[in-house]
Point group: C2
Chain length 198, copies 2
């Protein structure tokens, strides 16, 4: 279960065997059934979780009870309500398993202790957050500047496996689009593809 975590870390920094043993001691494991919650809004997000198997979504529910997807987390991703985790304040996000899921979880206190005991983890998270900021910057640009069709096409190009694995209604929510808009765009694209295949 730790293999995928170690391999994810070692893609970015070196870890000695002693550091691996130490690292393991900070985490607990958890399994979720499909549709089971990891976090509900209003709770404190006590853990940041590494997905060793499965798939989750985090989402925000607005006053009209519309669900807005914040992110999807596949194997090898970290997930939390990050503001709630870092500041130990009430969560605004819900986190729910889309598939059967296995997690490695660490509390905020242990997250900080781990960084003090294994300083190379500061470097690991610096690089991880750096990559995450690049992605979020790009998403903000897309969200504020692209048309609905441009948003969907860019997303589909960057995330071909997501398009296969996640229901279209959730992708629409992630992109801030109405499900009918995504259906219309998908029809248009497949018609264009038919045209170009002929």
């Amino acid at each position: 279960m730790f293999d995928i975590l170690f391999s994810h870390i070692q893609n970015k920094v070196d870890l000695s065997d002693e550091e691996k043993t130490e690292l393991q001691s900070f985490f607990i494991s958890k399994k979720l059934r499909k549709k089971q919650y990891l976090l509900q809004e209003g709770e404190i997000c006590k853990y940041i979780s590494f997905v060793s198997k499965g798939l989750l979504k985090s989402y925000f529910v607005d006053e009209k009870a519309n669900e807005h997807i914040n992110m999807f987390a596949f194997e090898g991703w970290w997930i939390s309500d990050f503001n709630s985790f870092i500041h130990q304040e009430k969560a605004v996000l819900n986190i729910e398993a889309i598939e059967e899921t296995e997690l490695l979880m660490i509390t905020y206190e242990d997250y900080e202790n781990m960084m003090l005991k294994i300083p190379v983890m500061d470097r690991y998270f610096r690089i991880l957050y750096q990559n995450s900021l690049v992605t979020k910057d790009y998403r903000l640009i897309v969200s504020n500047s692209f048309t609905a069709e441009e948003k969907y096409i860019q997303f589909a190009k960057k995330n071909p496996e997501v398009i296969q694995r996640i229901p279209h209604s959730l992708i629409a929510s992630y992109l801030g689009l109405a499900p009918e808009t995504v259906s219309r765009i998908r029809r248009k694209i497949s018609l264009q593809k038919l045209d170009s295949d002929q």
Copy 2:
């Protein structure tokens, strides 16, 4: 000029005098006049820059020549086209001084070298990026789920000094709203305020 950088770093981590001297050697300084560019789209963003004085904006220009503000950077903030800086690819953002500005700049190569030579800087940037992710997560939630009026009011509450210091047209662009929409909301708020003051 380095005092504000050191104090910003020492708010998050400890720095010895030797580390400070070493750190200085990685940076160059630059002054910008009002309206002068630090970066134009299509260039490689060679530096990440710390603002020791002044104010800048980074923005994206869409195909219809509309300007979309990505961020504002005040004294004590870092600014770059982060994707371009990290991957040394072509920038999609423009960065321009809104006021007379003084910067401390570091190249990507020196940024990586600095982290290897002064490992506590990994920790500094881990914490900095962590805070930045919290802010961006919140901005994505706002951008996808709030009405125009909610967006403006939330922004004004969180950034009272920005409202004073930055033209309203730029704030509208940052929030992805039309300038007329922001003017309408501002009129409505000040009428409500008049009502409640009576």
